[in-house]
């Protein structure tokens, strides 16, 4: 354990589990969970207050913010001092559907799916391009040149044949493909960590800054599992699918941590404007 890790609060260490945190990705979570519902703008020092309990120092924070501004997720507002950061229009557009899913009480009920098909035997370089594009918009590759996607979106290319409708009984091979072993292992590890955190929170009552940091971690890890697979009814997943049990744990912890986190965040960033979350 490094010096920095040794200084982490035991509750933070528990919520983080074995996961390696990418600072820019944690900041995306912070904007989604704490900043977007409070007007979408936060000062650099306020961000530093939120990230300090997670072991993220000022240097790492600056590098990550620079990257997020450069990639078009955030905008830096330079009027006066200190700098303020806001979600860009693109950042907001990408957040809304993810937020709706992250805080949803359950998986998709109705099916609203598109199966996309590239020409069989398409040249490998072009297929690889399409594979990158389709992965970028969250479609699941079912096979070479074949993707399953939520919703009825525009095609990334007129080369693709889109078929929009309802699926029959998903065969075993498809359920296994939608739930690869690494994903099931990630959900199981998250379930264990959330259970351990829940037990500790029966005794501990973290104050606002720590509660907010813990909530960021819990949302971050849930998001990182959830958005790796499409939002499908449970019949699409294997019998032993852990996703829904972990969702219940996540929602309960989010609710519990919000009691102390929300008033502290209201004071740090500003009062919540939009009811982006179920839990309040």
């Amino acid at each position: 354990m490094s010096a920095k890790e040794a200084s982490l609060h035991p509750l933070v260490a528990c919520a983080r589990g074995a996961e390696t945190l990418r600072v820019w990705s944690v900041i995306v979570t912070i904007f989604g969970d704490a900043v977007a519902p409070r007007g979408g703008e936060i000062s650099g020092p306020a961000l530093a207050e939120l990230t300090a309990p997670l072991g993220i120092g000022g240097g790492a924070l600056r590098v990550a913010l620079h990257r997020l501004v450069r990639d078009g997720w955030l905008e830096r507002r330079r009027e006066g001092r200190p700098s303020r950061y806001a979600l860009s229009a693109r950042g907001l557009a990408e957040f809304a559907p993810a937020a709706a899913r992250i805080y949803a009480a359950g998986p998709a009920g109705e099916e609203n799916l598109t199966l996309w098909l590239a020409e069989p035997g398409l040249a490998a370089p072009r297929r690889a391009e399409l594979e990158r594009e389709m992965a970028g918009r969250g479609a699941v590759a079912l096979g070479p040149g074949l993707w399953l996607e939520q919703g009825a979106n525009e095609a990334v290319s007129a080369e693709l044949f889109g078929f929009h409708g309802a699926a029959g009984t998903p065969p075993g091979w498809l359920r296994a493909r939608l739930a690869p072993e690494e994903l099931i292992a990630a959900y199981r590890a998250l379930g264990d960590d959330l259970e351990a955190l829940g037990r500790r929170l029966e005794r501990a009552r973290p104050e606002g800054a720590l509660a907010a940091a813990l909530r960021v971690l819990v949302v971050h890890r849930w998001r990182r599992c959830l958005l790796r697979h499409p939002d499908l009814p449970v019949r699409f997943f294997p019998e032993d699918w852990p996703g829904e049990a972990v969702r219940a744990q996540f929602l309960a912890l989010h609710r519990r941590l919000s009691v102390a986190a929300d008033p502290w965040l209201d004071a740090l960033i500003g009062p919540a404007l939009q009811p982006l979350r179920l839990s309040k």
Copy 2:
């Protein structure tokens, strides 16, 4: 030209074109076009009267009838003499949807399609089995382990993932795959032969037996093109798709030949019971 071909009526030679007729397949057409609407049963000698103008002799007819009985399409009714032949329950079940399509005034308007998907990377022997089964029920193979089918039918196997719905804009490669060159060439040849036959019929007025034989040939050749591709709206086919122009020619000729053919067939087989056809 063989002796038999030299004896064919010039109108029959024109309607047959360059197509090699398979006797059993022509008999299937006869049952669909002339026998099914008249109660579904016909005597051997009456069949021989209908097939003689087509150059089908008694020996070839007997071999074909034997095969159709053996394969379960027809039943031979042995009470008394001569033998009578009737469509089996299976034959009737396979006829009804084909007949609806053959005599339809246009292609499918609405889309009611299923895309079937086998596990990508399925072992070749099992995939070949599925390919045979899917081809047997008229599904179009779009690629390895991937079929497009009319309607929302049961899966041939729980291994297949079925996706039922509506298609987006069909890309060029898909339209080309649904209309292979051989099919377009067959439609073009049929269109040329029907046009030549139509011109001859402006002068000639064939009597009943010849009109019935000509109508059998016209239906037979139309059926052989039409049932090689699924019933899809025209947007699924290439710009230069000849199918709909040939449909108009077929329907006009069928109507014209029916004037003399139907009274003759009513006398030969029995009066028409079901309005199976548009043209009357």
